[in-house]
Subunit: 273 residues, 2 copies
């Protein structure tokens, strides 16, 4: 195993320069790779995801053992040990833990979202904040949702911040990016997915809507909500009641409320009450 370890120290090394480029969306797209940072998160990488490289600082390599499992689990992965300063220039975090992985991106088609009967989906239109993107992915994963469809204008789920906020859920359920969001909605609807849009002018409180059966919960942009086009294309608009004085909810929180109302109904909570 040790024989696979390469010690690199030149900032001019072509592969290390490529790794640096993965902080940008263009760099990720050009190379088909994204960064997974931190000792906990690299352990979350799992099949069918492929690790292209495992990168450590000299100190991490010397003081830790947990990377050895990963080296065994990914026999094709490069194993690179680099000086701390060089590591910092690759990592997105300000105080990196000394280990990161470059993982191959996957592109999912719409079909993957309807593989199961009565799929449970989340649709995101132009959600902007990487933290919200990752947190919604994590919540959807916890609730056992089947996947996420997002519009072209939605935050890149492979950005380091989103991957971090997802706490590893990026490896658990597919995020499908739609070139044409409304067309993808129509396609899902033709496969029996009812789309429920979170909307301040929704016709009924969310807990009076029906989330059983094939169902897609749609959330819009943090500042502007959903476009009229997307809201009109939904099967139903639901409103999260706000009897208090705050004017709106955080997008991740709104998604969490709807996802868990759906889970309640889908697991029979509705009948039991």
């Amino acid at each position: 195993m040790e024989s696979r370890v390469q010690f690199l120290s030149s900032a001019q090394n072509a592969y290390l320069k490529m790794l640096k480029s993965l902080q940008s969306k263009k760099g990720r797209r050009d190379n088909g790779l994204f960064l997974v940072e931190g000792s906990r998160l690299v352990q979350e990488v799992c099949a069918p995801w492929q690790m292209d490289a495992l990168v450590m600082t000299e100190m991490y390599y010397e003081l830790n053992e947990d990377w050895k499992k990963l080296v065994q689990a990914y026999p094709q992965a490069k194993v690179l040990v680099v000086p701390e300063e060089l590591f910092k220039s690759i990592a997105d975090t300000q105080h990196p833990q000394g280990i990161l992985a470059a993982v191959r991106m996957k592109e999912f088609g719409l079909e993957v979202l309807v593989e199961k009967e009565n799929p449970f989906l989340i649709l995101l239109e132009d959600l902007q904040d990487p933290g919200n993107g990752g947190t919604i992915l994590r919540t959807a994963d916890a609730a056992g949702a089947d996947g996420i469809l997002c519009s072209k204008g939605t935050v890149d789920f492979y950005s380091p911040k989103t991957v971090r906020a997802s706490m590893g859920s990026i490896f658990h359920l597919p995020v499908v990016q739609a070139d044409d969001f409304e067309q993808a909605m129509t396609w899902l609807q033709s496969r029996g997915v009812r789309i429920l849009a979170a909307h301040l002018q929704g016709s009924k409180p969310h807990f009076e809507a029906d989330f059983t059966g094939g169902c897609g919960i749609m959330i819009g942009n943090e500042g502007n909500g959903l476009s009229d086009k997307a809201a009109d294309a939904a099967d139903e608009r639901v409103r999260i009641p706000q009897p208090g004085r705050a004017e709106s909810l955080n997008a991740s929180v709104a998604a969490g409320i709807l996802i868990y109302e759906a889970l309640r109904q889908r697991t029979g909570g509705n009948e039991k009450c």
Copy 2:
């Protein structure tokens, strides 16, 4: 009104030095003031909160009108115009909008939490992240909750980041800090508040628990959850089901899920379904 405007340009000015100190908890405690930053947030300040000073950059003062209402609404407030660099040294945000207010802190006693019949409360034990603190406050406000009780180790709700994440909700409902958290729990329980603790080992799914009547939803620390002491003192432990693969939920999302399950039950959603 214009006569109240003072133009200050010395970084040695004692009041401006005091304002700078409000970025730290100690500075806020020593002076009894906290910072409210940004054009939208300063408009959220409302009675009975008192503004001690309204501070603007020269450019904001010249190009905007919205501050004039505030100057009228708070006749006791100092109105200070300072050069941009000086303003930046006071503000917590990296790209400040050019307006902030120093607002007088308020200390609330436990009594304020049980003023209404069947109060709807949130209890936070050692919640650490300022963003989570503000977001939970915002969600509680949206749902019409009556107040928040927090342990001594919980994030300072008057920190600039928490105030920002609350989107103004800091002015809408009381946050009470308990010197002795378990004692405060007992006191609330003696006033008819049932405390439901969010717990991974909860005895039942949250949607099978009863959130009607006087009710307190308790959330713990992001990394460690609730202490055994606090969890044991609760009337019931509830578990947010996680049938999927994520191991936990973000604290703001978990709070949002429980707060809205409570709202559903408290507004009759339980009977209607």
